[in-house]
């Protein structure tokens, strides 16, 4: 049992949003705690509201029920203490170079002056291995490089928690694996806290230390598990999670 206070508490959160014809409940009374230094995964099939839940932590959606607190402060609006890394490549500002993208984040949030921001930005650009592309505009970069910039930007802000919404889902399989390794290496260096959304069980086990399983329509917590680094245990855990998520579904759906 851990005795320190959790960094992020999510208490009985119900999220609803409206489409032109329906009111949709994305998640229903979801609760979990994220500790300092956690690599906390939200895992579930599509429609389980995991992205919506993360956007709510980001402050973009207000819960209809329950509340979320970061370091004891209630989350009401977006802010630089929770940096988002999105799946989409257009999250970088195309009119700024790689370095400017990171610098601008630091300056716009009013954290530091231009010179400090530039130094810090460069430090993190080097950290993700893009120093030779510091002065390139985003459209010259590959998908993997763009995601690296987004991660550098998120980390440079030194937020309380980094929110990553399927950041590697749009990458090819080889790049995705390399990015996962790099993310873990970065975590080893700085021990940031990250809330990571994915629909890949293997990715969840590899990246996370704690996994929240959500069931779909609407999203409800099914289980909260510890991950493992032992390969044999990982295979076992993968099968176990797979069963938990898809046991009630017919055979054919498994291999989709």
């Amino acid at each position: 049992m851990q005795h320190k206070d959790p960094l992020l508490t999510v208490q009985g959160v119900t999220l609803q949003y409206k489409t032109p014809h329906h009111l949709i409940t994305a998640t229903y009374r979801v609760s979990f705690d994220v500790m300092q230094g956690d690599r906390f995964i939200l895992l579930g099939p599509s429609g389980c509201g995991k992205s919506t839940l993360q956007k709510a932590v980001g402050g973009y959606i207000t819960p209809t029920e329950g509340e979320m607190r970061l370091k004891g402060r209630r989350i009401t609006q977006p802010g630089p203490d929770r940096m988002m890394v999105f799946q989409e490549f257009d999250q970088l500002l195309p009119w700024k170079t790689v370095k400017q993208n990171v610098t601008f984040a630091l300056q716009a949030s009013g954290r530091m002056n231009k010179r400090e921001a530039e130094e810090k930005a460069m430090e993190y650009v080097v950290k993700v291995g893009l120093e030779s592309f510091a002065d390139s505009h985003p459209h010259m970069l590959s998908g993997g490089m763009k995601q690296r910039v987004a991660i550098a930007r998120g980390m440079a802000m030194e937020p309380d928690i980094l929110l990553m919404d399927e950041p590697f889902a749009a990458l090819d399989a080889l790049t995705r694996r390399r990015m996962q390794d790099e993310l873990l290496k970065l975590w080893d260096e700085t021990r940031f806290t990250v809330l990571f959304v994915t629909h890949s069980i293997a990715e969840a086990i590899k990246i996370g230390n704690r996994i929240l399983l959500l069931s779909p329509h609407p999203g409800r917590v099914k289980a909260e598990l510890n991950s493992t680094t032992d390969p044999a245990r990982a295979t076992e855990l993968e099968q176990y999670i797979h069963q938990m998520l898809f046991a009630h579904e017919p055979e054919e759906a498994e291999h989709v």
Binding site: M84, P94, S109, G110, H137, H139
Partner: protein
């Protein structure tokens, strides 16, 4: 189910003998005869678009000159050389620059006012739904109405003078710019807006630092269309009543010289209209495009 599997098998039979796996050594590039070779001078020159276009212009000028000489009637169709002579004479005696300046002044005033009005309308449209409806209704009503059609009314309201010209110009500029800017703002991706709010940007800073740069391609398109409308409208309006606006602009210069049957000077006036249009569209706007949206890789 098992039938389908059997079918699959027959399409992809197991090989009887495993095929050998092949590994290659890296091939040396030394045997390659050409790695880098300079292109011939002709090829280098032919690749330059401006040079090819210059060739076309020269060819047209030659055809013009030959046709003009064979027609031998300066009143109907002066030769290229006569036009150029009239052009340089008019530049030297100052009548052409003065006319161009007088047109340009009015144009810039109308253009500037149009931009300001478009910015206000777009801001209102972004701020509230009723503002959006207002802008959409106004644009769909006035955008198809050629500005020059308002000239008779403008003459009654503002009299023979620059005020009427500017009124017509503002009308021709505003709707195109407002329409494009507004649609540009609406098309800014959700992700980019979320990124901006993530930085803690709100209100005017959010608009200035995220929305305007993100919508810049559309804004620039609006500015270009607005400019083209304004320039054409201005020349047309001056042709009708340039006499009123003091010294008179380019349109008036063309009209006046036609009345005096100085046709080479009419051609010189037309040439100036073309040159100014070309310079603004191809030099100024092209340069802005190259420095912004092309460098950002966001042109559509």
């Amino acid at each position: 189910m098992s039938e389908a599997v059997a079918q699959l098998r027959s399409i992809r039979p197991e090989p009887d003998e495993p095929r050998p796996e092949i590994f290659h050594d890296e091939i040396d590039g030394d045997d390659l005869s050409v790695v880098e070779q300079r292109l011939s001078l002709f090829e280098i020159l032919y690749r330059e678009a401006w040079l090819r276009k210059l060739l076309i212009l020269i060819a047209l000028a030659v055809i013009w000159e030959i046709y003009g000489r064979s027609l031998n009637n300066d009143l109907l169709f002066p030769t290229f050389s006569a036009t150029m002579a009239a052009f340089f004479r008019a530049v030297m005696d100052g009548s052409l620059p003065a006319a161009a300046w007088s047109s340009g002044k009015v144009l810039l005033m109308g253009y500037g006012l149009g931009i300001a009005l478009a910015a206000t309308l777009t801001a209102l449209a972004m701020a509230s739904r009723i503002g959006t409806d207002f802008l959409e209704t106004m644009t769909s009503m006035f955008n198809p109405l050629p500005a020059i059609a308002l000239l008779p009314l403008a003459l009654i309201w503002f009299g023979l003078g620059n005020a009427s010209l500017i009124f017509v110009l503002v009308h021709s500029v505003t709707w195109a710019i407002a329409l494009n800017t507004h649609s540009g703002f609406l098309n800014v991706s959700q992700t980019m807006k979320m990124v901006g709010r993530n930085y803690g940007l709100r209100g005017p800073r959010f608009i200035a630092k995220i929305l305007i740069p993100a919508a810049f391609p559309s804004i620039l398109t609006g500015l270009k269309i607005g400019w083209a409308f304004a320039w054409r409208t201005l020349i047309a309006a001056e042709l009708v009543f340039g006499v009123s606006s003091g010294s008179g602009g380019l349109g008036w210069l063309i009209f006046e010289n036609k009345n005096m049957l100085d046709i080479p000077k009419v051609f010189a006036g037309l040439l100036t209209v073309i040159i100014i249009g070309l310079v603004v569209e191809n030099l100024i706007f092209r340069t802005i495009e190259r420095l912004t949206i092309e460098r950002w890789g966001v042109q559509h």
